[in-house]
Point group: C2
Chain length 526, copies 2
């Protein structure tokens, strides 16, 4: 029997707070530090590993975290989720994004259909469509092949698919699976769409309109913008556009689209990269086989997340350490630092995934909680960040936990030897050096050159950023965020906090304003 | 007589802490809120305004901030800086980035030359070079015009110039000043350079190597990468590369470059966008006249920052409110949210500018301080962020102060009317709505739909993002960061925190490691 309780009522949480704190610089020195790096590592899907040697934990803290996992029934709650319970209680919805890449438990029937069958069916429809575009069965009116795919969407319909595209673009190019260039239009700022339209050949472009409800104002506005451009070029928009939406949306059966592919209410936008939302653009860009490998990596990570042993469940362990840092150690922010140029926009995706899911002040029953919840997430790729904000991370007055990601091999194969090492070796040497510098610091009599250390991090290490490891990485963080939501007893799957701004923006556009809102509207000439 | 004192020794700081706190939701309601929006506004350079109506300040707090400004001698310290005092005490250097765009005080002679003459001289050299490239006097070996410029640099040699390029790219296209496309290579990850080289025609590309010392390992590595690519294409690298460096660097007099343009030790990387570091790439991309307009906007902002009245000095006021939020109200993070797609990478630049300058734990005399200093800075353009992390900003358990930026007009002119409003109106309506939603909130009996409000923000409002307003915006934040450094009594112009990682990375590459560092090196196959 599952029970949902606030974190501050959990006995194991109280005990966790009483465990002696770890002096990171001390435990990471010498042979002990070497042993931690060897032992504090959990295998992940797709051959990766989650190494937490430089987190402020030891066996005692880990034992307390294991008790917390047990008492808060994390694995049982995940089981309930993938078996089809209504976990998104606020919106009274199932939470089924995992089912787009596998089935971990019971068949789940909703809206009269087996949902696994439904998701697989949409994937097949997309694969067939993509293959026809690639082999020239579906072309523009002149009978010429499409060369570019443009996703029109915002938030979850943009950040995840865009980050995944950028992560695999160069991999696909060197592995000869690159089919079409992808572009993305998201912002309601008209300069966004105008700039993208400037760089493409609309006559050879296919546009993917993504909106679950079919009513997202930014997306519909950008659709009109694109339709105007197509018409101005003498083209028929309905021959250049497909829709990704829910079956009940106004877009679903419209003649305005070449085809429509479906998702449903059980997949939140920020969890939709493995649904048709990511599937259409990624299958068109790289081919359905690459998208399938991406799903397989995610499925393997989902399976790993079912393990009740925290030392065999990297997502759960990562989640618990994050809660320890946030609620016991009092750290407010986490930086995500991938040492891989392909992951340049992965931090922006995690920022949405994490902050929109767990940036809540009420529990799943709508009661205010008395503890802090989701942290602020930000990040940029290393080594770039080293030459930017790392100064504060090393010597600032606040401690910011760090999530590193590194791969043994680069994606494109090209490299150059300077001063006896390749660029890839320099990249890896830098991430290794940073981890140790943050954890251990270095004493110096000149306080300005002194590094206190004690700054915690973890690193995910993989062979190479490819479709499978990317899928595993994505699912790892989705599951981490889910587990943290369970610990904090919040509903990670709604986003009521975005509503008020929408309501007020409509009032402004209708000139139905007074007070401050009216004066601001005047200042901006609305 | 200037005296440098820690913030916790300042009488006005003690008094500031005792002033009654402002209930933001309360003061922003009704007519009072409307009046605040009208009155709490300071003119900025280039026709912009800094509106702080939704900050947690009132006339009493403002009076205390004015006293703080006076007691910490902010304007006098700025005056000392631009008159050539050694403000960067750690490195014993002058701080002269303002002098790249104007001269506010005395002539400053260093290294035997008048520094204003030196910077203007480099600008002229760059302008002549750029004009020759544009008019075909300088070409590739085949006598064909260069079409692309590629900046090779990292940190301040990358983030600022890249953000400025993206901010003006579309403006230049519609205003017919667009000369050459610019690309940027920064990361030592070999996939970064390889990917850029994949997208350009090297035979028609000119590369700008940027390194003040001429020894930045990432940059020299990427230079080799590019030289290999040029040689493989049968081209002579020295006919395709220029250098931006200091006169004393090994690159300065090398035959490997078509030309060399100079900066000096008095301009830190993160403050170098208006020096030759930004000047070469931006003059080549948009023409020297556009770069000159950008400098003029910055110069005007610098002039504004000399005013001792906080209500006429937006950078100083912004800085003081930031200190109030950080040290008295206890907020750790600030989000930068430009409602302009052109400013997509401006937050990344501010992240470096702010966090690298003020992320310090010691004062300018090398003594540990007992108060918090620079905040974490992150951000993405609105409206994208609204569909991403705004959930946490509205309803999360921590309060994150917000810096909005909005423009009345878009850059490209194209627009579309949907539901009786243009995209530009929707964009502006959204920023206005968000400001009020954050400040005022909205009561709801359902706690999940309740918005407490009281979340502070400010907005910078301009007519349009163009060279002059961009320069003014850049200089505003440079000056804000400088003033905050003065208040915190830190040296904002060094970055000792980046050194340890460099030292350890060299050890790893030399296989001179033991303990944890050795095990990590093995895990990453170095």
């Amino acid at each position: 029997m599952i029970s949902w309780n606030n974190l501050d009522t959990i006995k194991a949480y109280d005990e966790l707070g009483k465990v002696s704190k770890v002096n990171l610089a001390e435990v990471m020195s010498g042979e002990n530090g070497a042993n931690r790096v060897k032992n504090y590592s959990v295998p992940m899907a797709a051959g990766m590993a989650y190494n937490y040697a430089t987190k402020q934990v030891d066996d005692e803290v880990l034992a307390a975290l294991a008790k917390l996992a047990e008492e808060t029934q994390l694995v049982e709650k995940y089981e309930a989720l993938y078996n089809g319970e209504v976990i998104n209680t606020g919106e009274k919805r199932l939470v089924l994004h995992q089912m787009t890449r596998g089935q971990l438990g019971d068949a789940v029937v909703a809206d009269g259909v087996d949902k696994r069958d439904f998701y697989v069916g949409e994937q097949k429809k997309i694969a067939e469509f993509a293959n026809k575009v690639h082999n020239g069965e579906i072309t523009n009116a002149a009978g010429e092949k499409f060369t570019t795919v443009v996703q029109i969407g915002i938030g979850g319909s943009d950040l995840g698919p865009r980050a995944m595209y950028l992560a695999l673009e160069n991999w696909a190019k060197v592995n000869n699976t690159f089919k079409m260039e992808a572009k993305f239009i998201s912002n309601v700022d008209p300069d966004d769409a105008a700039a993208v339209l400037h760089t493409i050949d609309v006559a050879h472009s296919i546009f993917v309109l993504v909106s679950k409800s079919g009513t997202t104002l930014e997306t519909l506005t950008n659709e009109s913008f694109v339709k105007d451009a197509l018409k101005n070029a003498g083209l028929n928009p309905s021959k250049h556009m497909i829709a990704v939406t829910s079956e009940t949306s106004p877009l679903a059966k419209s003649d305005d689209y070449l085809a429509a592919f479906f998702m449903d209410d059980y997949i939140g936008g920020r969890f939709s990269s493995t649904s048709a939302v990511g599937g259409a653009v990624l299958s068109l860009a790289f081919g359905p086989e690459v998208f399938a490998q991406f799903l397989d990596g995610a499925a393997e990570a989902d399976k790993t997340a079912t393990n009740s042993d925290i030392k065999k469940n990297p997502a759960m362990l990562d989640a618990l350490i994050g809660v320890y840092e946030r609620n016991i150690l009092g750290y407010q922010t986490t930086a995500v630092l991938p040492y891989s140029q392909g992951l340049s926009r992965f931090p922006a995706h995690l920022q949405q995934l994490d902050m929109e899911s767990n940036g809540k002040s009420v529990n799943r029953f709508g009661e205010k909680v008395n503890y802090v919840t989701g942290p602020v997430i930000f990040g940029e790729p290393g080594t770039n960040g080293q030459h930017s904000f790392y100064q504060l991370l090393h010597q600032g007055t606040d401690i910011i936990p760090l999530q590193f990601v590194g791969f043994k091999n680069n994606q494109m194969g090209s490299d150059v030897v300077i001063e006896n090492s390749t660029s890839q070796q320099k990249l890896c040497a830098n991430v290794v050096a940073q981890i140790v510098a943050f954890a251990c610091g270095k004493k110096d009599d000149n306080a300005n050159k002194n590094f206190e250390g004690g700054r915690p991090s973890s690193i995910i290490i993989g062979e190479q950023l490819n479709p499978a490891s990317l899928g595993a990485l994505l699912a790892h963080f989705e599951n981490k965020v889910m587990f943290q939501g369970f610990v904090w007893n919040v509903n990670s799957f709604d986003q009521e906090g975005v509503q008020l701004g929408k309501v007020l923006a409509k009032k402004v556009l209708a000139h139905d304003t007074d007070g401050a809102l009216k004066v601001y509207s005047d200042l901006l000439n609305i």
